[in-house]
């Protein structure tokens, strides 16, 4: 099978409206998480990362929209517009659109929201994005909990391999809403301070908001300079519990093993891991077990949740994009919030941003429903 590349990309985040804005701040180990008091989303203080509404409006206005778009649609459209433009690709019948989201326009269910409830249907979100840009095909929406972003990358590759498309634009996003925060709060999973993945004193997750997009293509011409090849990917269910991670890390272990087999890469060849690291007790513990079972306990690892919070359906996509830039800049990014190891198995958590020649990284994610996904990427030789 011919190679599949991840190329032009964009991150719309609290750091700014392109990928480098975020990368620059991550390199400086600066988090975008802030404490906010907003009774419209939760009755207590929330630690979160959100895009400034005025800046969003301003950027969206420049695109001359012909109708009203929801906040999430604006995030996805602004991000995709930049990625499509950078790629220079015409949106013909060989180009697909895949949207990764867990809840889409879920805020439309709120009776106070100006948009009709119909807008909460995910296919309507897909239709809005498709029509804005004039994509030839209907959008495919992938909604597979917190693995959606990494799984969307794997899915794009699979459709390209099958000959459905030559290029797929993947866009991912979810909002910080009352819907989501109330649920995670009922799960006793929210931390009211910046999260501390893998740390002894971790107290739970933060929810954040980004729009992310990327071009996935089989065409090796005109690639972005930070492009990577997707060497192998796999997804595997824990078959254990719908909200509690497996005690043995079974699904994650099997996902990584299967991705490594397809990539034909050994544990020793993986230079760094961009892990899920939500900073809940059970998730981080489960990951430490899975990484040890596969022999990756000494591989430098980070979680980026300390910079952006958990951005749900966008997280896997966002973290893959940051991983691509990490390879390109030959820099291991610090796992923000980590001080002292607080999981039962050893892990080599990156506690300081460090220059290092790196070629291959592993991205993992796990989520509700017992799902796990792993993908292995290699720098494109210059």
């Amino acid at each position: 099978m011919s190679k599949v590349y991840l190329s032009h990309n964009n991150l719309l985040s609290a750091y700014g409206f392109d990928s480098l804005a975020a990368i620059t701040k991550i390199k400086q180990e600066r988090s975008s998480l802030r404490l906010i008091d907003d009774p419209n989303i939760l009755s207590k203080t929330v630690c979160t990362s959100r895009i400034v509404t005025e800046k969003l409006k301003e950027a969206f206005g420049l695109l001359n929209p012909k109708e009203s778009y929801t906040r999430l649609e604006q995030l996805l459209i602004i991000s995709l517009e930049k990625t499509i433009k950078a790629s220079g690709l015409p949106l013909n019948e060989r180009v697909g659109l895949l949207i990764s989201t867990t809840k889409g326009n879920i805020d439309a269910l709120d009776t106070r929201n100006p948009f009709d409830e119909e807008r909460a249907y995910l296919h309507v979100l897909g239709e809005k994005i498709k029509t804005f840009f004039g994509f030839h095909h209907d959008a495919m929406v992938l909604s597979n909990a917190c693995v959606s972003g990494v799984l969307a990358i794997a899915t794009a590759k699979r459709f390209i391999a099958q000959g459905t498309y030559d290029h797929v634009f993947v866009a991912g996003g979810d909002l910080v809403t009352k819907f989501i925060l109330s649920g995670f709060n009922a799960f006793q999973a929210l931390s009211d301070a910046p999260c501390k993945p893998y740390d002894k004193n971790r107290t739970g997750i933060n929810i954040g908001e980004v729009g992310a997009s990327i071009l996935i293509t089989k065409d090796s011409g005109a690639l972005a300079k930070e492009s990577v090849v997707l060497l192998g990917e796999a997804s595997c269910n824990d078959a254990n519990h719908i909200s509690g991670p497996s005690r043995t890390g079974e699904g994650l272990f099997r996902s990584i093993e299967s991705a490594m087999k397809q990539a034909d890469v050994s544990a020793a060849e993986i230079d760094t891991i961009s892990a899920h690291g939500t900073a809940t007790m059970f998730n981080d513990e489960m990951e430490s077990i899975a990484f040890n079972r596969v022999g990756l306990q000494d591989t430098p690892l980070n979680s980026l949740k300390g910079y952006f919070g958990h951005t749900l359906g966008a997280s896997g996509l966002l973290e893959t994009i940051v991983g691509m830039h990490s390879l390109h800049q030959n820099t291991l990014f610090c796992s923000k919030g980590f001080e002292e190891l607080g999981v039962s198995e050893p892990l080599n958590v990156i506690d300081k941003t460090t220059p290092k020649p790196i070629d291959i990284f592993l991205k993992t994610a796990s989520g509700f429903g017992g799902c796990n996904t792993a993908a292995i990427f290699k720098k494109v030789a210059e």
Partner: protein, 201 residues
């Protein structure tokens, strides 16, 4: 090179009827989905301790999957499901519980089902499937996307078989159509055949 795959079995649940491979296996005049699916669960002798804790989408998906997986020895079976309404039926319940500050009591047991792929987790738990999962949302049943994705999983040896289809629950309307794609079987795996099986029931 493209290998031909086959559709081994299929089933459908809609409008009070449950069929497998074109044969009616259960019928009921119950008008409420919860009564209908409970009656089907008991009659078909399905056994899953969490059944009554699940939301409607998961109940629908679990019963449909059980029809095809009960006698299935292959455990390397990917699950590729799709629908129109995602988990909106349960999303609305969660939203109701948080809409007013006076009656703000979000339920963890409801919230956990506000993701469509939870039903894949339930099926994986019941049938001990440590396999590929994917949940897509389309405005209508789309055989083409499912066909390509299933072929891709089989070609890349990500699974021996793929349980594919549509499970939609919205405003008391329910529609499930699942089929198993394998290396052997009754019908040639094609978009036309998938659409035909979906429409003839």
């Amino acid at each position: 090179m493209a290998t031909t795959h086959y559709i081994e079995h299929y089933c459908r649940i809609t409008e009070g009827r449950i069929s497998k491979n074109g044969t009616l296996v259960f019928e009921s005049g119950e008008t409420e989905f919860s009564d209908f699916i409970k009656s089907a669960y008991k009659t078909l002798r399905i056994d899953y301790s969490k059944f009554f804790k699940m939301d409607s989408l998961s109940k629908l998906a679990l019963v449909a999957a059980d029809l095809l997986l009960l006698d299935e020895p292959e455990k390397n079976m990917a699950l590729v499901f799709s629908n129109r309404a995602s988990s909106l039926d349960t999303d609305r319940k969660h939203q109701q519980s948080i809409q007013d500050s006076e009656s703000y009591y979000p339920s963890p047991a409801v919230f956990v089902y506000t993701l469509p792929n939870i039903c894949l987790g339930e099926i994986s738990i019941k049938h001990r499937l440590f396999s590929e999962n994917g949940f897509f949302i389309f405005n209508r049943f789309k055989a083409g996307n499912l066909f390509d994705y299933a072929n891709s999983l089989l070609a890349m040896q990500k699974a021996e078989k793929v349980l594919c289809g549509w499970v939609d629950f919205d405003c008391e309307k329910y529609d499930a159509f699942l089929y198993v794609v394998a290396k052997n079987g009754t019908f040639t795996h094609s978009k036309e055949r998938i659409n035909q099986l979906y429409q003839t029931l």
